[in-house]
């Protein structure tokens, strides 16, 4: 398992390849890999977004990400999982998060990656502050915070 918080722009695919070099690259038990990449858009709801600050809670964030991946490993019998999450100052098109799950069969890989993303959005202590054409604003979660990308319609 790999859990990493990074404070500079990272290359998600290279990070994946680097991690897999350890062991997974040549593991013939793996039939399915499911990867999700979240990247920063230049818009959110009604506004243009020019930049973003991503804050986190060092220590608690890593703990929750580990718990989330361990839960997916047990629930879906996945062989391994990875989460790399960006913090600090971001620009549009910057990678925010990459999640990967490796398993024998595709159902499990798909479901694990999806669950990890939903749990991350609901539980992991990260906060986004956007710089928009209308000023700075903290991003508000959606109603459930598990159904769609974060959106908001008023500044905070």
């Amino acid at each position: 398992m790999k859990i990493e918080i990074v404070d500079e722009r990272f290359d998600p695919w290279q990070s994946l390849v680097d991690y897999k070099k350890n062991d997974l690259q040549n593991n013939p038990k793996i039939g399915a890999s499911s990867v999700f990449l979240g990247t920063m858009r230049d818009f959110n709801e009604d506004s243009d977004v020019t930049g973003m600050e991503l804050q986190h809670y060092p220590g608690m964030t890593e703990k929750y990400l580990e718990d989330i991946v361990n839960t997916a490993i047990k629930k879906y019998k996945i062989i391994d999982g990875l989460v790399i999450h960006r913090v600090g100052l971001l620009e549009p098109t910057d990678p925010i998060v990459i999640v990967a799950s490796w398993s024998e069969h595709r159902d499990n890989a798909f479901n694990a990656t999806r669950d990890i993303m939903e749990s991350l959005k609901a539980e992991a202590p990260f906060w986004k502050k956007e710089s928009t054409d209308k000023g700075f604003r903290w991003v508000k979660p959606t109603a459930s915070n598990t159904e769609t990308e974060d959106t908001q319609d008023e500044a905070q």
Binding site: G38, Q55, Y57, M60, Y64, K121, A124, K140, N145, D150
Partner: protein
């Protein structure tokens, strides 16, 4: 006479902006819940409905009683990913 308890407080995101500081170290002389501590820290304000509370990196509810050495954090709903 009570032994003083050391409590480390952290704030994040909009709560940090509201409080005007990132963290605070306190000595308290009686056991408090995380809710009672918030009132002490804010001129008796109630904890806003959507503020989340964690003690030692785990989410707790507002009646959770603090112990010596605890780290308590107050923050708004999370929006990562």
């Amino acid at each position: 006479m009570h032994k003083l308890m050391k409590i480390h407080v952290k704030y994040f995101a909009s709560v940090r902006d509201l409080m005007g500081t990132e963290s605070k170290d306190l000595d308290i002389d009686k056991s408090l819940s995380v809710y009672e501590l918030w009132k002490d820290l804010t001129a008796k304000l109630n904890v806003p409905k959507d503020v989340l509370i964690a003690v030692n990196h785990k989410y707790v509810d507002k009646d959770f009683k603090l112990n010596d050495g605890d780290e308590v954090a107050y923050f708004p709903p999370v929006t990562g990913g």
